[in-house]
Symmetry: C2
Subunit: 406 residues, 2 copies
């Protein structure tokens, strides 16, 4: 697998994208994008597990259930989320789907629709209509980078990636764009990820490949513990290369590349998290079950006290231990151990058998002063483990979220 420089959703063959500025964002930046495939695509999607979902989530679930192998386009607006908008909201989402189908000359059920932004506001359909027409006219085979910008909300930079997979039968490409920097939490908070590939993969297989990739990536990151109402990961495969990745080694190579790419995208989201200045890997091992490990890692990753200690470069391991103690998982503190380390380098043990080790405070502080570091907690009561990724909780996070609408 080889990363493609400036790669995006339009790196795989047969995809194009166009953008438009239709006036949904106060900033006056591009707020609409239309991704298109010249061939029918198989499609798979995973959505938020929040009880309250946006109109587009309802619509996409319906569209994918009816048609998962002749998809042609994804229309996305940023600025307005179309959530808590009742029957009118769902009607508007359908209208947007239909307008996009007209603009791209395909059938309604061949279009998926995504909306991200403020909750409780109806889409101004006149603006959406004009935007879709403009985005259809703007289609470029290298439009993916602009598309990555057009789906941004509080993101500070566009996030896009692509990779080429060499197979005995030739090479296929996976491309992606992603947005989301707040409300990020396992179960895919305010995050939209769009993945494309020119490999040939049946819809059912595509879905089977997407689920574990998302579970190992987007479902292992947390910025603030808030799960959004509109999260979606969509994957389109247009088969433009004619190369099948449905079985055997090709499938394995595709699966590995997809998970790798999704993990890289998830890390990009954390690094661009609202106010985030540190990227922290939290590994919990020695748990009885994977679910236990995940529960503890997540509790640490969302603890405001832990995250402010990260922000202050303060190796205050007591807060990490205290957070793990309230995760609802039984363990014996006398068997617990804790290490920290710079990125993937050697680690410094802070706690053994539940009590502090004889380490130099300055060594620990130096690790936490870095912009990338890891925390490893071993519970000493089993063999299961997991890793989640998070950032710090900073003044900037408060500023961004206290002033979002004002």
């Amino acid at each position: 697998m080889e990363l493609i420089e400036r790669g995006s959703v339009t790196s795989p063959a047969g995809f194009s994208a166009g953008v438009a500025t239709c006036g949904l964002k106060k900033s006056g930046r591009a707020d609409l994008m239309l991704l298109h495939s010249e061939r029918d695509c198989t499609a798979a999607g995973m959505f938020t597990r929040n009880q309250v979902v946006g109109a587009t989530v309802t619509l996409n679930r319906e569209t994918l259930a009816a048609n998962s192998d002749r998809m042609r386009a994804i229309a996305t607006n940023s600025g307005i989320a179309n959530v808590c908008t009742g029957a009118t909201g769902l009607q508007n989402a359908r209208h947007m789907q239909s307008l996009a189908a007209t603009a791209m000359r395909c059938r309604i059920e061949q279009v998926l629709v995504l909306s991200t932004g403020i909750i409780g506001v109806q889409l101004p359909m006149d603006k959406i209509r004009a935007g879709l027409t403009a985005a259809a006219a703007d289609q470029h085979p290298d439009g993916g980078m602009a598309a990555a910008r057009a789906i941004m909300t509080t993101d500070t930079r566009p996030k896009h990636l692509a990779a080429q997979i060499q197979l005995p039968t030739g090479s296929v490409t996976i491309g992606a764009i992603v947005k989301g920097s707040g409300m990020i939490h396992p179960k895919m908070a305010t995050m939209l990820a769009i993945l494309t590939t020119d490999a040939l993969i049946p819809a059912r297989t595509l879905r089977a490949l997407l689920i574990p990739a998302v579970n190992h990536s987007f479902n292992c990151i947390s910025i603030d513990g808030d799960t959004s109402t509109s999260d979606a990961v969509l994957l389109l495969a247009n088969g433009a290369t004619g190369i099948s990745c449905a079985r055997g080694e090709a499938r394995e190579a595709f699966a590995a590349a997809l998970t790798h790419l999704a993990t890289e995208l998830a890390h990009l989201v954390v690094r661009d998290g609202e106010g985030v200045t540190k990227f922290v890997s939290i590994r919990v091992s020695g748990a009885r079950t994977k679910a236990d490990a995940h529960r503890v890692a997540n509790t640490i990753a969302t603890s405001p006290l832990v995250k402010t200690a990260f922000a202050g470069s303060d190796p205050n391991w007591g807060r990490i231990i205290a957070a793990s103690g309230r995760a609802g998982v039984r363990f014996d503190l006398q068997r617990a151990a804790l290490w920290i380390g710079a990125s993937d380098h050697e680690t410094l043990q802070l706690v053994a058998r539940g009590t502090p080790c004889d380490y130099k405070e300055s060594d620990a502080a130096q690790i936490f002063a870095g912009s990338d570091f890891s925390v490893h907690l071993d519970l000493g009561c089993g063999d299961a483990e997991t890793t989640v990724w998070t950032g710090d909780l900073t003044h900037e996070y408060v500023s961004i979220n206290a002033d979002y609408r004002t």
Copy 2:
């Protein structure tokens, strides 16, 4: 029930308190206090549900199990929590109990011990010994206010209350001091509350009275979702008035006063929460069960996005709806309604049947601009309800917690 001005743990008859500065706090402020009753007390205690507990929690559970009706003293230090300190930590807690017993001329099992502050550091027993001797020499029948100061950590002000209850047989008094301003969360995070009374109440009844009072007060507040390892609420009854509150109307009056006082104390803790500038009541009604209502209210109360919106005086109800949607409680958004209001005044409806009402944004903003306001979410699917209290998430919170040890 009548509040006593400048009331505290020494307002009930027969109690005294003394403080000392033994050098556990960098600030050089008083860090040790010794509360004493001239008569044997019945005693009840409730402690953190964190899996990881401080040595004093272990010790107090043991002491209360062995002796709940001849208690004489509570020794408390601030600055060091004596948590994650292994066998030495428990030994030190026992040593502190024994030193306090010697200083106050009572038996070891007549002393309860509390420690609050930094995790993972051993108590300097020489300093504790000197401090206990000084605090024993400092005993005053009006020492409760100084005691409230001596148990503070990041608190910005001492928190103390007392109330007199008029009964047909005479009047009894309940007094209290409390500390805690971060790591505050249901299940009693980093919070120490000491309550005293001169009523005559058997130990078993005392415990039966304490549990609902704590559940309706301290277990309904949240600053940052972090549950501490050392939380404790202790209640001593020395019977100095000779007036029994064990049965009938006297018991009812006592129970009501105790719950009222505990709720007032809990509110004081929220108002003095780390960086808190707003006091917010979150009422969730129309839930299927009380547990469901509590889960939704808690998720709202701990959501960083909701709490930063409070900080920004931004009536961003979308975040409140989104938070309730991820609480793990099933409800139908189309039946949900949301109101906000200034303190206990009339309320403004923002959401009806899951969609925004036609209200003036400036009216909503004015309510959120206040320092006291309420949020009321009705889920429309049952009769159960609850109220929890929380604050906002501010720059100041980040500053306090990023720089706590440095």
